[in-house]
C-alpha cells in the first residue's frame, strides 16, 4: 500500500520528480567520475610502470611510489653496483621529469639497458633514439596530441624531434636520452629510479634482500605489488581531494532532497491531516516520506550510474590519455552516499510532517 502510494506521489509531480532524480544523479556522477578519474589515472600509470617489465624498482630513501613527485638524487654509479649482484640480469637507470604543461612524465633512458630490462619497444612507426634531441612518443600520446613522425615537439623550452611512435605501456609516454634529460634538469650523473630485471622472477626476493643490504635506506619495491601501492590512500592530498568532492556531492544531495521533500510536505499538508484523521501514526507518516525519498534516491543513483558511463565515454573520446576507472565498489558506494544523504535531507521534513496538528492540517488551503 505504502509502495503504491509513494509511486503515485512520485508520478503526481513529474517535473519535481525529474529535477530531484536528476540532482541525485549528478551527485552520484560527481562521486563516480571524481573517484574514477583519480583512481583511473593512478591505475593507468601503475600499469605502465608494471609494463616496464622489471622485477624490482629502486628509489632514493623515502621516495614516493608516485614517481612524478620524486627528485633525482641517486648517483648513477649505483647502477654498476646493482648489476654486479647475483641473479641480476639488467639494471636500467631512469631519470624522470614531470612536464607540468601536459601533466606527463618523461623518461630519460639509457637505451641499451632500458631495452634489456623491458624487452624493447614495439614500434608503430620510426626507429630508436639516435641523436640527443630525439624523442619517442607512445601511440596514445601521439593520437591524442595529433603528433606525426618527424615533427618537432617542444618540451621544457627544448625542441625535440619525434623519431619513433611506440606501443604504450612502458612506464611513460615520452622517452628521451638519459644524458639529454640530465643536462636539461641539471642532474648530471643522477637517476630517479633503477629498474632491475632478475634472471628469474622467483629470484626477486633474494635480489631485494641483497639490495637492501647494499643500500640500507633506499626504497626497494617489487613491481608485482605496484598497482596495489598506487592508491589514493598512499597520496594523502588525493584522498583529501576525493573526500572533499564526496562531501560536496553529499551536500548537494542533502539540500536538493531537503528542499524537494520540504515543499512536498507543505503541498501535502491537508493529505497529512487526512492520514492523521484515519489514525496514521507519526511513524507511518515518517515511513511514507522516507520511503518516497529512498525511491527518488534509488532512481537518481541508477540514473547517475548511467550518466557516469556516458560522461566517462565522452571524456575518453575527448581526452584519450585519460583513464576513468568505474568500479562496482564505488558505484555501490556512490549509490549509498546518495541514499544516506537523501535520507538525512528528508529527516527534518519527515519529522515536520509527522508532528503536524491534524486539525490545522485539515484546514490547510
Amino acid at each position: 500500500m505504502i509502495r503504491y502510494m509513494i509511486v503515485q506521489n512520485v508520478l503526481h509531480r513529474p517535473l519535481r520528480t525529474f529535477i530531484t532524480v536528476l540532482a541525485v544523479a549528478v551527485e552520484v556522477t560527481l562521486v563516480i567520475i571524481v573517484v574514477g578519474l583519480t583512481s583511473g589515472l593512478l591505475a593507468e600509470s601503475a600499469k605502465r610502470i608494471e609494463g616496464v617489465g622489471a622485477d624490482i624498482m629502486v628509489q632514493p630513501p623515502s621516495a614516493s611510489v608516485f614517481m612524478a613527485f620524486s627528485g633525482a638524487p641517486m648517483p648513477i654509479a649505483i647502477a654498476d653496483k646493482l648489476s654486479q649482484l647475483e641473479y641480476v640480469q639488467a639494471v636500467a637507470p631512469v631519470l624522470l621529469q614531470f612536464n607540468s604543461n601536459g601533466l606527463e612524465i618523461i623518461y630519460g633512458i639509457d637505451q641499451e639497458s632500458f631495452l634489456a630490462v623491458t624487452g624493447g619497444f614495439v614500434f608503430h612507426e620510426g626507429h630508436d633514439l639516435q641523436g640527443p634531441n630525439d624523442i619517442l612518443v607512445d601511440d596514445v600520446y601521439a593520437r591524442s596530441k595529433k603528433i606525426k613522425l618527424g615533427q618537432t615537439l617542444r618540451l621544457f623550452d627544448h625542441d625535440f624531434h619525434v623519431v619513433g611512435i611506440v606501443e604504450h605501456g612502458k612506464g611513460a609516454r615520452l622517452f628521451v636520452f638519459l644524458s639529454t634529460l640530465q643536462e636539461m634538469a641539471g642532474a648530471h650523473d643522477k637517476a630517479s629510479v633503477f629498474f632491475i630485471k632478475c634472471d628469474r622472477t622467483d629470484h626477486t626476493p633474494a635480489v631485494i634482500d641483497a639490495i637492501k643490504q647494499l643500500l640500507p635506506r633506499y626504497e626497494v619495491r617489487p613491481l608485482k605489488d605496484f598497482i596495489s601501492l598506487m592508491t589514493s590512500s598512499n597520496l594523502p592530498g588525493l584522498g583529501a581531494f576525493i573526500n572533499v568532492m564526496i562531501g560536496i556531492a553529499v551536500v548537494i544531495g542533502f539540500l536538493v532532497i531537503f528542499l524537494s521533500m520540504y515543499t512536498t510536505i507543505i503541498e501535502r499538508t491537508r493529505e497529512i491531516g487526512v492520514l492523521k484523521s484515519l489514525g496514521a501514526s507519526k511513524g507511518y507518516i515518517v515511513r511514507i516520506v522516507l520511503s518516497e525519498t529512498t525511491l527518488l534516491c534509488i532512481g537518481g543513483a541508477v540514473a547517475g550510474v548511467g550518466l557516469s558511463y556516458l560522461m566517462s565515454a565522452i571524456f575518453i573520446k575527448l581526452f584519450p590519455t585519460l583513464t576513468i576507472l568505474i568500479t562496482p565498489l564505488w558505484v555501490l558506494r556512490a549509490g549509498l552516499i546518495a541514499i544516506v544523504g537523501g535520507l538525512l535531507g528528508a529527516a527534518y521534513p519527515a519529522w515536520m510532517a509527522s508532528r503536524k496538528d491534524p486539525v490545522e492540517a485539515l484546514a490547510y488551503e
Binding site: M5, E271, L278, A280
Partner: protein
C-alpha cells in the same frame, strides 16, 4: 463559569433492534475547549455534556462559529479538550496522549469531511483500502465489497478523485470512513460542497448505513433539512448545546 448543558436522548430515542441500550458509545461531561489567540482566550466549547448511544444517527446543528466543528474534532480525538471528559467506547480521550488518541481514531472513529479529503494521487479503490491498511488488519475483501456495493461504487473504483463528481467523491469518503468498521462515524458538513441531488443521495446513504449496518453517526450541519435525516438534533450556539430534540 457558565452552567453546563446536559442533554440526554428522549425516552423514545432509537435503539438497535428496538432494544434499549443503556451504555452510551460517546459521552462528554462538561467539555471545554479554549483556544488561545495571542493573549486572548477564546472558548469554543463551554461545558458541553452529551450522550450518543450505539446505533444512533445524531445531527448537530448551529450557526457558523458555534463550536460544532470543534466539538467534532474533540470527540473524534483530533484535538485535545481543555477540560472536562470525553468517553468514547469507554476510553477517556482527555487523559490520553497524542499517540493513544491516534490509535483510538484508527480503531474507533471514521471521519467524513465537507471537502471529501480524498488523497488526489490515489484512485477510489486505494483511497478506501488505505483506511484498512492504516487500521492494520490488512485488506478485508468481504467488508470492502459490502461497503462498495452499499455505496454504489463498484464501477468507479479505478477512478481518481479528479475524475469523480462531488457526490461520488463523498461516497468514496463514506466508504473509507466505514470500511474499518468504526464505532462511530463523525461527519463534518458532508453535504456542504454538494448540490441538492447529491446531498440527498449522500444523506440517504448515511441513513441507510445507520439502518442497515447499525452504524452510529454524528453529523454536523447548518442545514435543517439535512439535520432532519438524523434521529435527533442537537442545537449548538456559542459553544453550548442549547437544545436536544428528537425528530423521529
Amino acid at each position: 463559569m457558565l452552567k453546563p448543558t446536559r442533554i440526554f436522548p428522549s425516552s423514545n430515542s432509537p435503539t438497535l433492534a428496538g432494544e434499549r441500550l443503556l451504555e452510551p458509545i460517546l459521552q462528554t461531561e462538561n467539555l471545554w475547549k479554549v483556544y488561545r489567540q495571542g493573549k486572548v482566550e477564546v472558548p469554543a466549547l463551554r461545558g458541553v455534556s452529551i450522550e450518543i448511544f450505539p446505533g444512533e444517527f445524531v445531527s448537530i446543528m448551529g450557526p457558523s462559529g458555534c463550536g460544532k466543528s470543534t466539538m467534532l474534532h474533540v470527540i473524534g480525538g483530533l484535538a485535545q479538550a481543555t477540560s472536562g471528559r470525553v468517553l468514547l467506547d469507554g476510553n477517556d480521550l482527555t487523559t490520553m496522549s497524542d499517540s493513544a488518541r491516534t490509535l483510538l481514531r484508527r480503531h474507533k472513529v471514521g471521519f467524513v469531511f465537507q471537502r471529501f479529503n480524498l488523497l488526489p494521487t490515489l484512485d477510489a479503490y486505494h483511497n478506501i483500502t488505505l483506511a484498512q491498511h492504516i487500521h492494520g488488519n490488512g485488506f478485508d475483501p468481504h467488508r470492502f465489497q459490502v461497503v462498495a456495493d452499499l455505496l454504489g461504487l463498484s464501477g468507479r473504483l479505478k477512478h481518481k478523485p479528479s475524475e469523480l463528481s462531488g457526490g461520488e467523491q463523498q461516497r468514496v469518503a463514506l466508504a473509507r470512513a466505514i470500511v474499518s468498521e468504526p464505532k462511530i462515524v463523525l461527519a463534518d458538513e458532508p453535504t456542504g460542497n454538494l448540490d441538492t441531488k447529491s446531498s440527498e443521495a449522500v444523506l440517504g446513504l448515511l441513513r441507510q448505513l445507520n439502518q442497515d449496518l447499525g452504524q452510529t453517526i454524528v453529523m454536523i450541519t447548518h442545514n435543517p433539512e439535512a439535520a432532519a435525516y438524523g434521529h435527533r438534533v442537537l442545537h449548538m450556539r456559542d459553544g453550548e448545546v442549547v437544545d436536544g430534540s428528537s425528530v423521529h
